[in-house]
């Protein structure tokens, strides 16, 4: 009894750590509640099945589409677009962002334009990209790059700007050249922040992917979602959303592990 009361109090005290078991159970409980509500509303017939499929329907749709190969094809198509867009954007934004945060002149040159573009809604460019590039893979890649690149640039510049000046001064007094400072101080010091930025912007890349696929595509998870809407296959829409969520979760965890591995010092 005494310990139970203690736990309740701990749960109600701000910023108090709780046992891992309790934390995990709380997370599970939330999931179960949502799934339970869903099951209740759909199996109970509260919402017509045309609008809300049952969990069983969604699973069945998953099995069906996996068997006939459509699901794999479209997942791969989406992954391809997201990865190309994200990698192309990051390969340029990481070094350029580092330079922007480290050299005042690069910042002065780029910042006014970047800050202007950064606030333009990506979606408003989709018609323009279709006009320019067509409706192929390149168009969807372009939407992702456009949506992610400028944000990455500014965020990585901020990471590099945040590197403690004393670390740079210390390296100078140890004989570092300006090149050494960039390669051996600013680079490694920014690494954890860069990985965090990539992790966050990867999530945005998924969002822009679906936007691009909904507007103009002949493959991908956004495309089958749109097609399913036309055929009133609400179970397939649910399936596509769930898979996008799952893929997002996997990439997020991959970035988390990567950060643990190569920037363990910053944990």
């Amino acid at each position: 009894m005494a310990t139970q009361k203690n736990w309740v109090q701990r749960c109600l005290t701000p910023k108090v750590e709780l046992p891992r078991k309790l934390v995990l159970s709380a997370g599970m409980l939330c999931w179960l509640l949502v799934l339970g509500l869903w099951a209740g509303f759909s199996y109970g017939g509260v919402v017509p099945s045309m609008f809300l499929p049952t969990p069983g329907d969604v699973l069945a749709a998953g099995v069906r589409l996996t068997h006939d190969g459509t699901l794999g094809k479209h997942v791969l198509a989406s992954l391809e677009v997201v990865l190309i867009g994200f990698v192309v954007s990051s390969v340029v934004s990481v070094p350029l962002g580092l330079l922007m945060g480290s050299f005042r002149i690069v910042q002065a040159f780029l910042e006014p334009l970047v800050n202007f573009i950064r606030y333009l809604p990506v979606t408003s460019f989709v018609p323009l990209f279709i006009l320019w590039i067509g409706i192929g893979l390149e168009q969807r890649v372009a939407v992702i790059i456009f949506g992610v690149f400028f944000q990455q640039l500014v965020m990585i510049a901020d990471v590099s700007k945040g590197v403690q000046k004393d670390l740079i001064n210390a390296s100078y007094t140890l004989g570092a050249s300006r090149r050494d400072v960039v390669m051996h101080v600013l680079g490694p010091a920014s690494l954890p922040g860069i990985l965090d930025t990539l992790r966050v912007t990867m999530g945005w890349a998924w969002t822009y992917l679906v936007v691009a696929e909904l507007v103009a595509a002949s493959s991908g998870l956004g495309y089958i979602s749109l097609k399913a809407m036309r055929g009133f296959q609400v179970d397939v829409i649910f399936l596509a959303i769930a898979i996008i969520g799952l893929l997002g979760l996997i990439t997020d965890q991959l970035f988390r592990l990567l950060r643990l591995r190569i920037a363990a010092w910053a944990q």
């Binding site: 403690q164 004393d166 670390l167 001064n169 210390a170 390296s171 100078y172 007094t173 140890l174 004989g175 570092a176 050249s177 050494d180 051996h184 101080v185 490694p188 010091a189 690494l191 920037a263 010092w265 910053a266």
Partner: protein, 277 residues
């Protein structure tokens, strides 16, 4: 001398300093800032002094007297508005490995182990790896951290981090070691230990040290010569030789000579406060 027998320091007698050329020469140095409103603030006003080779020089002064600025200027991390600084006869023109510096804050590279931190300067100089290993082992032992060579900075206490910072600066074999209130953030017990350790390491290395502090006890304990600074604008008020013989241990704080000096310096700093208010 304390009751406990200490390892003898290999030190030239004080009188030998006179014959050696100045390791550091600060020649009529002024430093002025322009505030955003356009007002000029003078941090240092025509400061001149010399520090002989192998001497332990301590600069004391109230906050805002420009004592840290003097170190940054000597390190080449900032430029004087007027005047020149010479280290080993060479005019200071930008930072370099010949002037090692230990900073007030913790400036170890957190992504490098203790060993890699000490190697940092040696690697920039592209020394052969066996030479690097020998030097690093030597300084790891000097600061008593051989067992912590593969630890990361976040695994160390504040005192240990500053010991690595000292080892890292000395490993480069600089002409002069600049120390900017390196023990300011440490608790008083650790600070006493660090002062002893620094005296010992300095005794072995015979480097010229310029040490900045606002702690008068620390200044007298460590220094051959104390440069007392005043503020607004920063200037040298008085230069005092510390006649207390070495090796010194923590008991010196009770010696009459120590107390006499402390009272004198307190008086100087107090005058300065009186001028301001």
């Amino acid at each position: 001398m304390g009751a406990v027998a200490k390892k003898p320091y290999i030190m030239p007698p004080l009188s030998a300093y006179a014959e050696v050329a100045a390791r550091l020469k600060v020649d009529n140095v002024s430093l002025r800032y322009q505030s955003p409103k356009g007002e000029t603030f003078t941090a240092l006003d025509r400061v001149s002094f010399e520090v002989p080779d192998q001497q332990f020089a301590v600069i004391v002064g109230p906050s805002g007297c420009g004592k840290s600025s003097l170190l940054y200027l000597t390190a080449g991390l900032a430029e004087p508005s007027d005047g020149d600084i010479y280290v080993g006869g060479q005019k200071v023109n930008g930072p370099g490995a010949d002037r090692g510096m230990v900073f007030q804050g913790y400036t170890l590279f957190p992504w490098l182990t203790v060993r890699q931190n000490i190697e940092f300067g040696l690697k920039r100089r592209k020394l052969p790896s066996n030479e690097i290993r020998t030097i690093v082992e030597f300084y790891l032992n000097e600061v008593g951290l051989a067992k912590f060579a593969e630890h990361y900075p976040k695994q160390l206490s504040g005192g240990m981090m500053q010991r690595v910072a000292i080892a890292r600066a000395l490993a480069n074999d600089p002409q002069i070691l600049l120390m900017d209130e390196p023990f300011g953030a440490l608790d008083s017990q650790t600070r006493l230990q660090m002062q002893q350790l620094l005296l010992q390491v300095w005794g072995n290395s015979k480097k010229t040290v310029v040490f900045v502090t606002h702690d008068i006890d620390e200044a007298i304990l460590l220094a051959d010569r104390i440069y007392v600074m005043g503020a607004r604008p920063g200037h040298i008020k008085e230069i005092l030789d510390v006649p207390i013989e070495r090796p010194r241990n923590l008991d010196v704080v009770m010696e009459p000579e120590f107390i006499r000096m402390k009272r004198h310096i307190l008086g100087l700093l107090h005058d300065d406060l009186a001028e301001v208010h």
